[in-house]
Symmetry: C2
Subunit: 288 residues, 2 copies
């Protein structure tokens, strides 16, 4: 067993690896878990992806991602909800194919304001309505929908849910095994309320997945790509990780880095560097 048995490589960290490569690079580094993305799964087809995941011996920690349901009623909204139903089924299939301890967790990004709209409350209402529509399918499939608050700099174009508090408020009327939240340090570190809301997520049984990467400035031209290896920025992983662990969270911890320089580096180097940064900055604060 490695020194970081709960580390999971989110596939976005090695974005340009196809699915078989991502599985191979991860497994051969002695890592036990991976977070998968829909696009590389679609590339090989779901059945093949499930077989490749099974053969790899890896757990699946999450499946990324669904969501993008802030549009008003109409064909585009219907298409998005149908696509989310397919993502739910894919999540169940892949989680069943992964090694024991795999999590049937589908990460959801809410979506931004529709073109020309200034109505944040309305968009948030439509996120809640979408969860209501999707919850029965998720429950039937044994999948947890994990609403992910994104950093407020994405609030207009990507995710109208900018705080963990709002994410939990949106979950309120659903069973916690059906609708939970994604806690990602990059998106939440700045929030004076973050650790209290992490504790709340735990108390409500909604902490579906814990993801780590670091924040540093200056931000690059494309702020989507401003994520760093844990330890290379300003986030206090000790405080975050201890708070997550105190809730009883015992699943894998994903490292998910969107960063052009990381994406351009050789995959095995990225995985090695990820493991090293996790061992230094996160592992010491996990429950023994």
């Amino acid at each position: 067993m490695s020194g970081t048995p709960r580390l999971s490589i989110n596939q976005a960290t090695i974005k340009y690896a196809d699915l078989p490569t991502a599985l191979e690079v991860t497994a051969s580094a002695g890592i036990e878990s991976i977070g998968l993305w829909r696009e590389p799964v679609a590339e090989v087809g779901l059945e093949t992806a499930a077989r490749q995941l099974r053969d790899s011996g890896l757990r699946m920690s999450t499946y990324c991602r669904g969501g993008f349901f802030t549009l008003p009623e109409g064909p585009a909204r219907r298409a998005s909800l149908d696509d989310n139903r397919r993502a739910i089924d894919e999540t169940a299939t892949l989680a069943a194919a992964g090694a024991a301890g795999s999590a049937a967790v589908l990460v959801l990004v809410a979506g931004g304001l529709p073109d020309g709209s200034r109505d944040l409350d309305g968009a948030r209402d439509r996120v809640r309505a979408a969860l209501e529509e999707l919850a029965p399918a998720a429950e039937a499939a044994g999948v947890t929908l994990a609403v992910e608050p994104l950093h407020p700099m994405f609030a207009s174009d990507r995710c109208v849910v900018p705080t963990l508090r709002l994410a939990l408020d949106l979950c309120r009327d659903f069973a916690p095994e059906v609708v939970g939240v994604t806690v990602d340090t990059f998106h939440l570190w700045w929030d004076p309320d973050a650790l209290a809301q992490v504790a709340r997520a735990g108390a409500e049984g909604r902490l579906a997945t814990y993801q780590v990467c670091d924040w540093a400035t200056p931000l690059p031209q494309d702020v989507l790509l401003s994520r760093h290896y844990p330890g290379d920025g300003v986030i206090d992983f000790a405080a975050f990780t201890r708070t997550v662990e105190a809730t009883g969270y015992a699943r894998d911890v994903e490292v998910e880095i969107f960063n052009a320089a990381v994406w351009d580096a050789p995959f095995p180097d990225v995985v090695a560097r990820t493991t090293q940064s996790f061992a230094t900055s996160v592992q010491p604060y996990l429950a023994p």
Copy 2:
């Protein structure tokens, strides 16, 4: 009287205008109020600046800016606090020189994490401690310190106070006429808690100044410069402005735009465009 009698041009909107030019351009456009910055005042000297402001017949709506006091104890922190004391005195002098209705309000930006630090709570404690040190000087001078929460994308390098809730919590033990808050739509629009906290600021008597500009994506390379004319982005100025006015706020409303294209345009054009966008997007929601 113009159709926008409470409009104030924040001098940063015409950044490259020196003080006499900024006063002249603003007054000759029929605008009654201006928000001044320390650097252009220092260029001509405080006494001359006060005289020029008096001669212009304009009100001063705020003075920008103090703050940057997250450093640990030591000579740099002392120098910053001394500089803030000078800024308090300048605020009082200029407010007295401005036309009736001028506000002796000093806008404060807290500052970012010190180099190498990951301790947000510690930095926030030092902001509070700085307010404690400065409050007696502000009270003696009749100046209101207006703590400004900045957008969370600035939380590491510029302002550890990312929400209006935290800003108000930091003010809690001070008299409201001594320590209040700056409400700027650009920094707060994304926050599900923003309007409730604006109402709280009003109820606590701490709404020292209301500033408007818009948010749009994509963000430019330097995210500091991502502000737009009201109406050119996604912010719901109706909701914000009505909530501000419902508190009884009756002071000037500043337009403060950091944007390279705006800065490069001729000053009178910028002032005309500001007036027009304010008349369309903000004025209709001001109390009659």
